[in-house]
């Protein structure tokens, strides 16, 4: 092959493979150069069940952020969950509720925000007071067993 042909094919090689790498980073990795900024909101749950860090936070089923950290509040032993919510959703009323939900019957757990009616909105460092804990299958079965036992007694 001539020198020109070699140089051309090397050029094509570099372009195609670099394009492949860039496509991996941008499309598959979904990389955004300056990741859109977020603000943090805290919520306390009695039980977070199988919720994990990075789980999605949704409003009306739409993804608006993710769980940043899960810890224990040392005073009342409840679970302290910190959400990171995208700045573009800065109009969530302060009396909104947060519930830990499950996608599908046995799927992964996520947080659903139930918007309230207040005209003041949550800001960075705000707190969601109305929370609903995760459904724990064992407790649920236990409740059903107790109820059926009571019914048979009557």
């Amino acid at each position: 092959m001539t020198q020109k042909g070699i140089e051309t094919s090397v050029g094509v090689f570099m372009l195609v493979t670099l394009a492949a790498m860039i496509w991996l980073v941008l499309e598959i990795g979904n990389w955004t150069p300056n990741a859109s900024s977020t603000y943090e909101v805290t919520a306390y749950f009695d039980n977070v069940g199988g919720l994990s860090v990075k789980a999605p936070v949704t409003l009306a089923g739409v993804n608006i952020g993710h769980v940043a950290s899960i810890g224990i509040d040392s005073e009342d032993y409840s679970a302290r969950v910190i959400f990171q919510i995208l700045d573009s959703y800065d109009n969530i009323p302060i009396d909104s509720g947060a519930a830990i939900l499950t996608s599908g019957l046995l799927g992964a757990q996520y947080v659903g925000i139930d918007p309230g009616a207040e005209e003041n909105y949550l800001v960075h460092g705000g707190q969601i007071d109305v929370t609903q804990s995760a459904m724990v299958l064992e407790n649920l079965i236990g409740q059903i067993l107790i109820r059926t036992a009571e019914e048979t007694k009557q």
Binding site: I6, V10, F13, L18, A20, I28, G29
Partner: protein
């Protein structure tokens, strides 16, 4: 007693070999000047090392991707989770199979060629002739091959992953009737750019360095005989493959 002697001799030989390989590095790295002094030499090597390896990498990537599509589907369909097939294929390819399989193929296809070429130059005294003419063979023969291989490896690994994703798509959308939209959507939402994509690229950079280093070293120090070259080529491929797998374990343990 003679068994102990054998073990001792063997261990010393291994350590000596490792030491020589390490000592080779400071001679090798200054050859980076070839990048701007003799770019033509580098392009020539990029052609014979990079471009000529594209076909084997692309074909292997396609079939590995298709295989992953099938295997992933049969595992996931039991849980009704075949919509995350795209994610499974993408994670496999970007984190592990892309860098590792490309490095193994690369060691077999390009690494062995580098070793044999340099070894034959040593045997036919071309390297000595260059030294006689005050032409540094490190810069004119070894460095272009080393840096071309080092550059080509991450690029080929990216190509492998992309072709593999295409192969997985062909199988899942074409043969298994997985929803094409969910194939890509699960991938885009589940693959993390730093942890998965960048981790894979970092791996392939390390593998590229290791494979090209071993290949040029074995060629440069091949015994100048027919037998010596065949041994050097074998050793280059075997050592490079094992080192890649060992480093893969280490990097995976450190990164993820």
């Amino acid at each position: 007693m003679s068994l102990l002697l054998q073990i001792g001799r063997f261990s010393i030989a291994i350590v000596q070999h490792l030491g020589r390989r390490g000592k080779f590095l400071p001679h090798l790295l200054p050859g980076v000047v070839v990048l701007y002094k003799r770019p033509k030499l580098l392009i020539q090597q990029l052609y014979s090392i990079g471009v000529m390896t594209v076909l084997i990498v692309a074909v292997a990537g396609l079939f590995v991707g298709m295989m992953l599509g099938f295997q992933g589907y049969y595992t996931l369909v039991d849980f009704g989770a075949e919509s995350s097939l795209g994610l499974a294929v993408a994670l496999f390819l970007t984190r592990e199979l892309g860098p590792v399989l490309t490095a193994l193929l690369f060691a077999g296809r390009a690494g062995s060629a580098i070793t044999a070429e340099i070894g034959l130059m040593r045997m036919t005294q071309q390297l000595d002739a260059m030294e006689m003419m005050a032409v540094d063979p490190m810069i004119h023969v070894v460095a272009p091959r080393f840096f071309a291989a080092f550059l080509a490896m991450p690029l080929l690994a990216a190509l492998f992953s992309v072709v593999g994703l295409g192969g997985g798509y062909i199988v899942s959308a074409g043969l298994l009737n997985v929803d094409p939209g969910s194939y890509w959507a699960a991938m885009e939402s589940g693959v993390d750019v730093y942890e998965d994509v960048w981790g894979g690229i970092l791996k392939s950079i390390v593998f590229g360095f290791v494979v090209s280093w071993i290949s040029v070293f074995e060629g440069y120090y091949a015994l100048p005989s027919t037998n010596g070259i065949s041994k050097a080529t074998t050793r280059a491929v075997v050592t490079a493959s094992l080192t890649v797998l060992g480093f893969d374990y280490l990097l995976t343990a450190i990164m993820f």
